[in-house]
Amino acid sequence: MTNKETMLIDGVPVEINGEKNLLELIRKAGISLPTFCYHSELSVYGACRMCMVENERGGLEAACSTPPRAGMSIRTNTERLRRYRRVILELLLANHCRDCTTCENNGQCKLQSLAKRFNIEGVRFPNTAEKPLIENSSVSVVRDAHKCILCGDCVRMCNEVQNVGAIDFARRGSKMTISTAFDVPLAESPCVGCGQCAAVCPTGAIVVKNDVEKVWKALDDKNTRVSVQIAPAVRVALGQAFGLPGGENSMGKIVAALRRMGFDSIFDTSTGADLTVLEESGELAARLEEGGHELPLFSSCCPAWVRFCETRFPELLPNVSSCKSPMQMFAAVIREQARASSRRHVHVAVMPCTAKKYEARRSEFCPDGKPDVDYVLTTQELVRMIRESNLIFSELEPEAVDMPFGTMTGAGVIFGVTGGVTEAVLRRLASDKSNSGLMRLAYTGVRGLEGVKETTVEVGGKPVRIAMVSGLGNAAKLIERIRQGEHFDFVEVMACPGGCINGAGQPFVPAEEKAQRSAGLYAADKLCSIKRSEENPLMMSLYGGILKGRVHELLHVHYGAGEEERHG
C-alpha cells in the first residue's frame, strides 16, 4: 500500500494494515475489547456480541465480523455500549452457576473476569441456574453442560482446527446444548482427548480432568516411593502462572518444587525422548534402506494423533512408528529400575497434554493390568499443587534432576515444539556430524510454528522428504495429499497447533504469545552440552543394562492389536 489508509478509533487515527476485522485493529490500538467467542485461529462466529462498537451514525457493529474501512470512525466505549455489555453479562449469568469459589475454572474464567471488569454488582433476572450436569466419561476432560454459554469455541476448535468433529451444537433455542452425536458419552465419541476444547472454553463448561488429589495421596503414603518425569514443554510454560516471563525455562525451579512436595525421584522426559530418537531414527533408517515404501513413516509420540489415526485412518496404522511415546518409553524403564526395590512404586508424569491421561490408561501400557504411568498431571494441575504447597515459586533455588537418569540432550528437549522430533531424528541420521552441520539443520525448514512444514534433507546421499504437521486438521489434509499420490518418507504429527508447547494442559495464552515458548525450548537446547541423543552416555548404559534383550518389549508397541476399548 502506498497511500496508508486510516480510520478513527475513539477519535484517534489508526493505520489499517490488512487486518481481517475491526477487532484485530482495535486490539492492536491498545484497547482490549471483550469477547467470548473470538479466537484468531478459529472462524468468526459473532455470537457473543461483547465486541459491539458504535459507528458515527450511532449504529452498532460487531467488531469481530466487520472489516475495517478507510475513513471509518468508531467508538468502543460509550454509555450505550457499556450498558449493552452489562446486560449481556447479566443475561449470561442469570442461568449460570455462580459458585465461582468451588468451580474448577475459578480464576481462569472469562465470564468471571468480564463480570468483574464490567462491574456487575447484581443480576436483575431471576436465577434459573441448574445443578451441575457433569459428564466425566473421558479421562482427559470433564464437561458441565450447565456452565456452557454456547459461544461455540469448542465446536469450532474440534471441527476446524482439529477436524475431529466429536462435538457440535444440538437442538435449538433454549434447548440448545453442545453434544456428541446422539448424546453418547465423550468416551464413546470420536474424541481424541487433545483437550483443545477445554483450552478455548471461556467458562468451566469444559475443564481438564483433575488428578491432583490422587497424587497427594500417593505422596503422603510413607510406604510408597513416588517418581516423576517432566515433559520438555512444561518448563517453558509453568513459570508464566507464577509471574515469570513467557517462555522462560524454569526446569530447575520445577524440580526444586517437586522435591519439596515430597517426590522421591525426579526425572526429565527429555531422557525418554533420547530413547525415542534412537529407536525412531533406527526405524526410519531401516525403512529408507529397504526402499520402495510408498507411504511415509508417521511419528507416534502424540497420543491424540495415534487415537485420531486409529479412529479415522485405521488403514494407516501399520505406518505409524512402533516406538512408544517418550513418556511411555521412559516410564517402562523407570518401572524396570524400580523393581529392585520392595517398596510400592507410583510413577507420575507431568505433561502439557490431556491426551497423555488417556495414553497412560491404554491397555498396551498396562502390563499385568498395572499402568506404567500411574497418574498424568497437566502443567496446570502442577501449578495448582505448587500453590497448594504454599511454595513461593519465583524464589525457589533451581535444582537438578536425579540419577540414574539424570542426563539428557538438546535433541530430547526440543521434542516439545513442532518439528522438534524431526530435527532430533535428523541430528542422529545426518552424515555431517560437525557443529556447523548441526546448526545448519535448524535452517532446513524444521523450525517455525506453521501448521504444515515440508522439507527435503539428504541422508546417506539420498533425498528424504519430510513433512511436519501440527493440528489434526492439517494432518487430515496432508494424508489426503498422500492419498493423491504425493510422496513423503517421514511425517511428524502433533495434535496441538504448534506442538506440545501449546498442549491443552498448559496455562492458556493467546496465539500471539505462543512463539515465546518455542524460543524457550530452542534456548534450552543451546544450553545443553550434548546435542545428539546417541551421545547421551546414559543411553549406552541403558542399552547395555535394563534394555538388554528387551528393547522391543520396553520401548515398542503395536497399536491396533485388538485395542477396541475406548478411553474410559
Binding site: 471441527n159 475431529v164 468433529g165 466429536a166 462435538i167 457440535d168 451444537f169 444440538a170 437442538r171 435449538r172 453434544s179 456428541t180 452425536a181 446422539f182 465419541s189 470420536p190
Partner: protein, 164 residues
C-alpha cells in the same frame, strides 16, 4: 432392518443429492421421506459420504423440528393447531386421537408402529379448519367423532391390504 438394503437406499439418495457438505439437508430429507425417520444406523455412513462429522449431522437433525430420530408409525397423523384450527377446537380432536390410540405428548407413536400423532403449527389450510393430515392427505372440518371413525377406517384399510 436389512443393512444392505439401507446402504442401497442411502446410496440412491446420495447419488441424487450429491456427496458434499451442502447436500446434508437434502439427503436427510430423502432418508426421512423413505423411512419416515432418520435411522441412527445410517449416520456413520452418511457422515463419511457427505464429508461432515456425525455430530454435525446430529446437530442438523435435531435443529429442524421436521426431522425425527425415532421411528414413526405407518400412518403419521398431524393435527393442525394453528390459530384458526385452535379456535375451531383442534385440541379435543388431538385429545380424542391420543386417548383412542393410548398416546400422549411424550409418547407419540404406538408400540405396534402403526400410528404417530403429532401437532403442527399451521398447514396453511385455515379455510378448512380444523384440519388433520394422514400421511400428507388432508382431512378437513374434523371433529373428535370423525377422528375416531377415521382411525377405524385406517385400521380396516391396513387389514384389507394385509389380507390381499
Amino acid at each position: 432392518m436389512n443393512t444392505h438394503e439401507m446402504y442401497q437406499t442411502a446410496d440412491a439418495i446420495l447419488d441424487r443429492c450429491g456427496r458434499e457438505q451442502r447436500s446434508v439437508i437434502a439427503v436427510l430429507q430423502g432418508i426421512q421421506e423413505h423411512y419416515r425417520y432418520l435411522p441412527r444406523e445410517l449416520f456413520p455412513y452418511l457422515a463419511e459420504q457427505l464429508g461432515v462429522s456425525e455430530a454435525r449431522l446430529y446437530s442438523v437433525a435435531t435443529f429442524y423440528e421436521n426431522f425425527s430420530l425415532d421411528p414413526k408409525g405407518h400412518f403419521v397423523i398431524k393435527v393442525c393447531d394453528g390459530t384458526a384450527c385452535h379456535v375451531r377446537k383442534s385440541i379435543p380432536i388431538l385429545e380424542r386421537l391420543r386417548s383412542d390410540l393410548g398416546l400422549s405428548d411424550k409418547k407419540v407413536t404406538t408400540d405396534d408402529l402403526l400410528f404417530t400423532v403429532e401437532t403442527v403449527s399451521c398447514l396453511g389450510a385455515c379455510g378448512l379448519a380444523p384440519v388433520i393430515t394422514v400421511n400428507d392427505k388432508v382431512h378437513p372440518g374434523m371433529t373428535p367423532d370423525k377422528a375416531s371413525e377415521l382411525i377405524k377406517q385406517l385400521r380396516e384399510e391396513l387389514q384389507n391390504a394385509d389380507n390381499a
